[in-house]
Symmetry: C2
Subunit: 466 residues, 2 copies
Amino acid sequence: MEPDLDALFNPRTVAVVGVSTTNPFHPANIIYNKNYYGYDCNVYAINPRGGELERRRVYESLSELPEKADMVVVAVKAHIVPEVARQCAGAGVRSMVVISGGFAEMGAEGQALQDELAGICDEASITLVGPNCFGVYAPPAVDTFFLPPERTVLPGKGHIAVASQSGAFMVDQIMTNFHEAGLGLSVAVSMGNKAQVDEEALLVHFAQREDTTLMCFYIEGIDQGVRRFINSAHEITPHKPIIVFSGGKSERGKHAAKSHTAALAADHELVEGALRQSGILEAETESEMTSFAKILAFYPNRPMKLCNIAVISSSGGHGVIASDMATEAGLNLPEFTPERQQEIRRLLEPNIQEIAAVSNPVDLTGSAADQDFERVLDYLLSKEDIEAAIVLTLPYTPMMTSFVGTRLGQVVKQYDKPVVAYVPNLAKYGMVLEGFELNGIPVVHSIEEAIQMLKALRLLGIACQE
Amino acid sequence: MEPDLDALFNPRTVAVVGVSTTNPFHPANIIYNKNYYGYDCNVYAINPRGGELERRRVYESLSELPEKADMVVVAVKAHIVPEVARQCAGAGVRSMVVISGGFAEMGAEGQALQDELAGICDEASITLVGPNCFGVYAPPAVDTFFLPPERTVLPGKGHIAVASQSGAFMVDQIMTNFHEAGLGLSVAVSMGNKAQVDEEALLVHFAQREDTTLMCFYIEGIDQGVRRFINSAHEITPHKPIIVFSGGKSERGKHAAKSHTAALAADHELVEGALRQSGILEAETESEMTSFAKILAFYPNRPMKLCNIAVISSSGGHGVIASDMATEAGLNLPEFTPERQQEIRRLLEPNIQEIAAVSNPVDLTGSAADQDFERVLDYLLSKEDIEAAIVLTLPYTPMMTSFVGTRLGQVVKQYDKPVVAYVPNLAKYGMVLEGFELNGIPVVHSIEEAIQMLKALRLLGIACQE
């Protein structure tokens, strides 16, 4: 069956099964509390023994609730879960999120239990997430991630939908890193063992969501779901970019993935080839995932063709390092003709006209001012052979002001070309950073990330050709 | 001649030649001001036209100063510099820092000017840094880095000496990143065109400094100085580790390096081989340089032999990714025997005994508490085949407390084995981070950096064997 994904992201009424009246750290209690205080759904606590939780009623079963539950979140021992699912089927529940572990990741017995659970849900047309997962983060309606909200980081509302085979990867590497990068989420799903809802089902749903312009997936190994995901992606990538980061590439990693989410091992080179053929952008490291997402959030549709970039810096060393890294990433720094070099020199203020290096990378030296950056960027973006630029901004130099980002932002708005700025990662450079990002130029905190961002647009260009 | 390096780091009296009475942003003015207000040396301003600077006297020449200058910092147009050097020779000056550009990096004419300058200094036994450099950062005596101090970051006093062919790389990639990583410097030198003082001279000096346990160098290309540096390093690396990050590896990077510091191109594979044979640790990226320095600051002498590590995490996904990255970095995660797995399981609290994955990587799950980490780390460090460990700490999980780092620190103190902790990079996890670092465990903010750190100890092990 095609699971009804809408049933996951807009439940009006949610029941949490397994709430403890003695342990406030129980996952079910955390889910109950965070939804009671922080989300729009009506949330009810369920435990077969009944009782009270902070003077609020704990219901003994679904049938006692004052209203029908749209979604049921389950955090009880694995062998009880099929029975809960049968009760859900009887009560007309539309979606279930099974947090509990102890299923396919534990071997054959667990697999049988998981098959039983999936069978009940399929039969009753219940949309099932999990088991062995964090579930669904869908603000403002509901959030089943069973971590204390004061300990986690919530990215703002945005246009990126994410799904992850690892809940902790989602919370740590996606939600925390995206928050730090200033990126917002539409919805997020931790899929766990994927007994029913998998990458492919989520991909098809995300592709149709109007609030979503970009999708990120963390996958481990390859299985039927991932295979179907890759096939379906082919139709979607021309309209909405898909970023994948994949764990379990090495022998030891495969081994770990198996005990983690029962993931099947695969030769990573095959996976890589299949991803590329479907136009999916594969991030090679954790930080690439964030860099790829950020550049696509700022410049949704700028595939590079020639992969020619210009680098403008106030430091020769930074230019050298950026050149090395660009080469590694398949990006070119085209050499400038003597005429072009002369024209660049003419644009500079007298104090640096003699000392600046005006080839590519351009080194404006530590005596450069805002207007030097502005004029050189304007000139280079106007050239047909330059598709994108990196500005390496060092706020240490005395003539550069915090206003530089705002000035360069006006230049970028005149051209249809992506520009990335490097600003060191220190609180005191906040004013410099803000000037760039408020004016449409994404900021990174390492030369490596700047290169990663333009690499994403190179990969997008390759994807467009396939 | 062998330059006298002491003359650079402890000048009692410093004269700055080229101070402007009209432009407060002139490099000479910045150097004059920062030393006047922030350092121990007596500093004097010099300009042939004389005058006043904020009601303080600007001297017309060296001979007018009320006392002999130990060090002269020069920031005037290139063609005037040799004349200033002759005056220094006449006045018995011991060291010169030439900030000015316009020498070898500008072609044959500049090269001739540079040779003239070096000749004068050699003749008069003046220790010369530069030209085309930031010079010397040697707190509390002197600081010639001509950047406004409020714009830059100063790492605390520490035991790492650094030298860089790029001033901006020094300020940005070393001083800022080291400060963020909590690392301190003994002294720092931006060498520029290296007309006299070069990597090799600094290496020999750093090796003898009692306040220095570790050295970091940024080099571009390869020349006589770098060759002699690599030869001399052979004798030093068994006693003090040397980290090198090298720019100008790619064709475009070499091209940029040439116009930056007149660096000669070299086949990077040859450089790589030579560095390795001398026992030098080569960092491949900017972030590796900081990771290498940090692990060696915490564990000065722990070369790995087997390169066997254990990974302990509360997240399966993090364990999978760490396994992939460890493999890439040449580190092994040895498989645990069924007996060892059983023993680990016995150490766990009842709530996770069934659900934890007790192979390597160990996944304690999101329900793990401080004592689970503590007991498993203690057990694994006690095993002969495990040389080091990575603890992936996710402060999101409800049972882990901010005290975990302090507890694990006590375990590490019992063994002679390096342990690295991952803590996400958020201000609100400061308490968690502090617990680790105050108790001897370095913290990183990405899985990648944790792997980089142990890779440094693998490289150190290889260096010990050569």
